[in-house]
């Protein structure tokens, strides 16, 4: 008996040792690839980074000067995308979680089409955005058209993540609210949405992250103009488009492409951390999930 036990323990620990080794090496491999990539960008980009790089306009096709107007355009495009995607996305997510019976055919249809939309290649979205927003709606190459195209891209990600967040809110609170005779609207505003807020913030960040990194969908919608935009109807070059143009189309554009990539990554870190901080601090003050 004891012998048998000992025997089986050895087997387990061998399997265990192998799994531990495999998982640690996989994790290290991923970390190494990541550090290599980030190190490369950091090494080449950091030298060109300065305050004036962030504020000045690009000169000489982007080889010199900075990325001031491009940053502004990028943020404006993001703002349009968020402003369009969040209300629509939130409404859809709420409807999918709180208002339809599971298995309702319209709900399934909406869900399926969102899943397909989430998989639509960004280049196809770019074609769509160009044909629909720029040409058909007559918005032309503009920040508005680019932002709306990105909104289409962000929407399914946002909806599905928000949906998961809302579903994770305990049913006890829904029943409690209903038993007090609260309307669904009131329950949503006072309890469900605040309780799901961290998940919603995470959903938003996921969306923004994807939107910010997007090139293919923007080349044909928000365009190529690197001037400081004065309104949403101006064409504005997004940071990712700028990086693409510098590295693929401008001789001697690499140093600034690296620096721009570094700025883009840094921005993403900042947005990510802010979202985490928001979720963890501000919202927790109103909502405590014990």
């Amino acid at each position: 008996m004891a012998k048998y036990g000992l025997f089986s323990m050895t087997i387990t620990s061998n399997l265990d040792r192998f799994m531990t080794l495999a998982i640690w090496s996989a994790a290290l491999l991923v970390a190494a690839a990541f550090l290599w990539l980030l190190g490369d960008v950091l090494w080449h980009g950091a030298a060109h980074l300065s305050w004036s790089f962030l504020t000045e306009a690009p000169e000489n096709a982007g080889r010199s000067g900075g990325i001031g107007p491009i940053l502004v355009s990028t943020l404006m495009i993001l703002a349009v995308a968020v402003a369009a995607a969040v209300p629509l996305g939130l409404a859809t997510a709420v409807w999918l979680t709180e208002f339809i019976r599971p298995g309702s055919s319209f709900g399934r249809l909406v869900g399926l089409s969102l899943d397909v939309l989430a998989g639509v290649p960004s280049i196809v979205l770019g074609l769509f955005g160009n044909a629909f927003f720029c040409v058909y709606l007559g918005l032309g190459f503009s920040i508005l058209a680019g932002g709306l195209t990105l909104a289409c891209m962000v929407l399914p990600i946002f909806i599905r993540t928000a949906e998961a967040g809302l579903r994770a809110v305990p049913a006890d609170w829904r029943n409690g609210a209903a038993a007090l005779g609260l309307s669904r609207g009131a329950a949503l505003i006072h309890i469900l949405l605040p309780a799901a807020a961290p998940a919603l913030a995470a959903a938003l960040m996921l969306g923004i992250g994807r939107a910010m990194a997007e090139t293919a969908a923007l080349i044909y919608t928000s365009g190529y103009v690197d001037r400081m935009p004065s309104s949403l109807s101006d064409s504005g070059r997004a940071l990712a488009v700028h990086i693409y143009d510098l590295s693929m189309n401008v001789a001697g554009g690499d140093p600034n492409a690296y620096a721009s990539a570094l700025v883009l990554i840094t921005l993403l870190i900042i947005i990510n951390s802010t979202a985490l901080w928001l979720a963890e601090n501000l919202l927790q003050r109103r909502i405590v999930t014990a």
Binding site: T12, S13, L15, D16, F18, M19, T20, I23, W24, A26, A27, L29, V30, F34, L37, V41, L88, A91, T92, V94, W95, F99, G111, L112, S113, D115, V116, A118, G119, V120, P121, S122, I123, V124, L127, F128, P156, I157, R160, T161, A164, S183, R184, G185, M212, A213, E214, T215, A216, A240, I243, Y244, S247, D254, A261, L264, I265, L268, I269, N272
Partner: protein
């Protein structure tokens, strides 16, 4: 004695109105897809009507200027690149998630998770840029031309890895602690617990994460365009340069007109077909959705 007064102003009616409003929003969100498909169909209709759908599969090669519209090699390249990437990123991503949840010390796991989140946010252009200047020359030393299906797969794998890792991480987090305690109480080792309890319990979430990642790989454009070589041919080895459907659109759309342009919209339709098949597969497999 009036107890429950039905009234237009009562909250139930407000709720009904809210419900309709939300349903309208959901309908609008769903309509976007319809709009996209209709638009693709409209733009590709002329060439579909003139040369028919079959030739896009049957033609030998893609020479739009010479009226040859064979998309099949690019379809195979797209599939090969995506599934290669998934094959690589799937196990690595799940391993990373397991590392975070069950192997790494808390502080390391936190850091690691932040790193993966960051990796998820790195623009595809940067991946492509890095691949073009670092990975392709490296491979070219051993197996010219360097730009190949393999580099495409590597870059795609790196790009979709965070998607797999983050969704798998969420799926692992959703495995009830009680299962773990139960397994521990039975004296199972960590490896056995993971293989026997944790992974089966998180299977649904992991599968949907992998499918989501597959969709991203199928749709990725810029990074693949920069590293995969863009030669229109059916890949026969990992070192063959290939062109994917997405890269085809991005490379030529700006230079195309007439039937050539319409044929590129057919590429778009074909991609949509792939995505719809994938979504339907996900629907079947996970009994519901592509996203957790």
């Amino acid at each position: 004695m009036i107890w429950f007064k039905p009234s237009i102003l009562s909250p139930s009616y407000a709720d009904a109105r809210l419900g309709w409003g939300l349903a309208a929003a959901a309908g609008l969100a769903a309509a976007i897809l319809l709009l996209i498909v209709l638009l693709l169909l409209r733009e590709s209709w002329p060439v579909l009507q003139r040369v028919g759908g079959v030739r896009f599969f049957a033609d030998q090669g893609w020479y739009p200027a010479e009226e040859m519209y064979g998309l099949a090699p690019m379809l195979w390249a797209t599939l090969a690149a995506s599934f290669g990437a998934v094959l690589l990123a799937g196990p690595l991503g799940v391993a990373s998630a397991l590392f975070c949840r069950h192997y790494a010390p808390f502080s390391v796991a936190r850091l690691y998770r932040r790193m993966v989140t960051l990796l998820a946010g790195i623009p595809s252009v940067v991946f492509g840029f890095w691949g073009l200047t670092v990975l392709v020359p490296l491979l070219a030393q051993f197996q010219p031309p360097g730009a190949s299906l393999l580099t495409g797969i590597l870059i795609l794998a790196l790009m979709i890895l965070p998607t797999v890792a983050l969704t798998a991480d969420a799926a692992l987090a959703a495995v009830p602690d009680a299962y773990l305690r139960g397994a521990a109480a039975l004296g199972l080792s960590r490896g056995a617990t993971i293989a026997g309890v944790v992974l089966p319990a998180a299977r649904g979430g992991i599968i949907s994460g992998v499918l989501l990642a597959t969709a991203r790989a199928l749709g990725e454009t810029m990074a693949v365009l920069m590293v995969a070589g863009n030669v229109v041919q059916t890949p026969t080895s990992l070192f063959d340069p290939v062109r994917t459907l997405t890269a085809n659109i991005a490379l030529e759309m700006a230079y195309a007109s007439g039937d050539h342009r319409a044929a590129l919209f057919v590429s778009g339709l074909m991609l949509m077909g792939l995505v719809i098949i994938l979504a339907a597969a996900a629907w079947r497999l996970s009994g519901g959705r592509l996203h957790g």
